[in-house]
Amino acid sequence: MPEFVLDIQNLRKEFGANVAVRGLSLQVQRSEVFGFLGPNGAGKTTSIKMLLGLIAPTSGTASLLGAPLGDRAARARIGFLPEHFRFHDWLSAQEFLTVHGQLYGMPPATLARRIPELLDRVGLMPFKNKQLRTYSKGMLQRVGLAQALLNNPELVFLDEPTSGLDPVGRRLVRDIIHELRAQGAAVFLNSHLLSEVEITCDRVAFIKHGEVVRVSDLKTLAEGETSVSIRACGLTPEIAAGLAQWGRDIRLDSDAGRLQTLTLAISAEEALPVINQYLVAHGVQVYALTPQRLSLEELFIQIVGTDGGL
């Protein structure tokens, strides 16, 4: 069993003079939900297409489930939901899943069991015999998701899986991703909905101009960037300056009547009780001490910048 289900080494794609992906390197482990974040035009979809053998890389290598890029046998263990996907809309959901299951090489008996199971899971059982052309955007997204899960994949690529979905649909996708992780599968998620990524992903890579700018564990990333807001009485600039041993970016607003507000950024939540003790020991009356994690969106802007990468 390979150590990584996905191991990308310096993958590069040029379209003429335009470099879409500059040199992508990253690894994804089993049972991991990996978020792939970046502004429009950062090369996310191009990267996914290279990994799935849709386009040939100019240079670099990657292994999926231990097999080199383009290995057919490995594709039987991979699921894929493309962005803006279109299917043969003259098929019914049942027929569509049957065809794709056959292309996966799944035997009829397995398909007869698996298809109703999946249709039920994505809530399309009552519409299984209707042609896809009659489906709404959200229903198509659901049937596409079912298609990506047909073969019980060990590695699933989801390119914007929640686009076009209502909150119920988004929750369904989230639950399915959690189930996949619980079953030991790895999920490679490309999404612009950072709130979704924040809830579902274990790790994220920030991509800009076709390169990984940073790969971060979402938990430590958020912890590492905690901002603390303190509402108290009796704060002096000297006391505030003394907090520098635990945090940075210290700011004291002194004009708000009796209560004062002090904010600072700390690198670990363990500092919170120590800060409290320090303030109390210096005669400060603490009314509130609130850690505020930076949202992923704030981090995204911080790391990728506001130029949109265009």
Binding site: K49, L52, G53, L54, I55, A56, R72, A73, R75, A76, I78, F80, P82, H84, F85, R86, F87, H88, W90, L91, E95, V99, H100, Q102, L103, Y104, G105, Q131, G144, Q147
Partner: protein, 292 residues
């Protein structure tokens, strides 16, 4: 295995998108019109005096009407071949439909071959209906069966296969509209080349209007036709089919409204078959190597 899944999918698409229904209904309408026309003409001929000369004239008339029908069917099958296959790869690449297919554990070649077999089957059914219908209509009405009719229909089928395969090849690298433009443009080239050749060979066989200079021009015209046949060996397949199916009399004279005095050789049929295979190989290779 995947080849047959894609082949079945191609069939199902033709049925679901009402292509089969339209071809069937309009094909039947065509056969009804043809049969009625044939009936009126042969009813008109019943006043002809009896005798050996009359039998010969009748045979020539039946054959002429049969060939006229086959000529129309050939043209219809060419159009059908180009229309059903022009959008298949280009369209699915354009919409992204192809992405969930090629990321399955299948070879891209299997997808192209599956579609090719599907279209080949559909064209076979279409020709069976149309060419078979004409042959049956003529036989039922006057018990006339053209010489080598099966070989003739086979050649027409080969022609439609070449058009379809060439269209599929273009569709693997161009947009749908560009594919249609290239295929019909080339067909036009082959068509006019065929007529230039027919004119040239008529002059070289029957007349010497312009002396030596005119004869050279006529030979050049024949060569233009041969070159156009080498570029796109489609019209030449019909010319050979017409030669096969025409009456012994016209074949010995070497000229009929539907065929040139210079009969396309068997080597040209071999060339066309090789052309078909090469075109299919190029289609597979181009589709296998391109970014999707």
């Amino acid at each position: 295995m995947a080849t047959f899944i894609i082949m079945r999918l191609t069939f199902r698409e033709a049925v679901r998108r009402k292509i089969v229904l339209a071809a069937l209904l309009l094909g039947l309408a065509f056969l009804v019109f043809y049969s009625l026309g044939f009936y009126f003409i042969i009813t008109n001929m019943q006043g002809m005096p009896a005798g050996a000369a009359s039998v010969l004239a009748r045979t020539e008339a039946y054959n002429f009407l049969f060939m006229a029908g086959m000529y129309a069917v050939t043209f219809l099958s060419i159009v059908m071949a180009a229309l059903i296959s022009a959008d298949t790869l280009a369209g699915e690449i354009g919409t992204g439909t192809i992405q969930t297919l090629v990321t399955k554990p299948v070879r891209r070649a299997e997808i192209v071959l599956g579609k090719w077999l599907g279209f080949g089957g559909l064209l076979a059914l279409y020709l069976m209906l149309m060419a078979g219908g004409i042959t049956a209509s003529v036989w039922l009405q006057c018990h006339y069966l053209a010489d080598n009719w099966l070989a003739g229909i086979g050649l027409i089928y080969l022609e439609s296969l070449i058009i379809m395969t060439f269209t599929l090849m273009c569709s693997s690298m161009l947009s749908t509209l560009a594919t249609g433009g290239v295929v019909f443009g080339l067909y036009g080239l082959a068509f006019i080349g065929g007529w230039v050749e027919q004119f040239g060979s008529f002059v070289t066989t029957f007349g010497r209007p312009g002396g030596t200079q005119g004869l050279e021009a006529a030979h050049a015209a024949v060569n233009v036709g041969i070159v156009s046949s080498l570029i796109f060996p489609v019209e030449v397949m019909w010319k050979r089919a017409a030669y096969e199916m025409t009456t012994p009399l016209l074949r010995s004279v070497g000229f009929s409204p539907f065929s040139a005095p210079s009969v396309p050789s068997l080597l040209m049929i071999v060339y066309a078959a090789v052309y078909l295979v090469v075109t299919l190989v190029v289609a597979v290779r181009r589709f296998s190597q391109r970014d999707l």
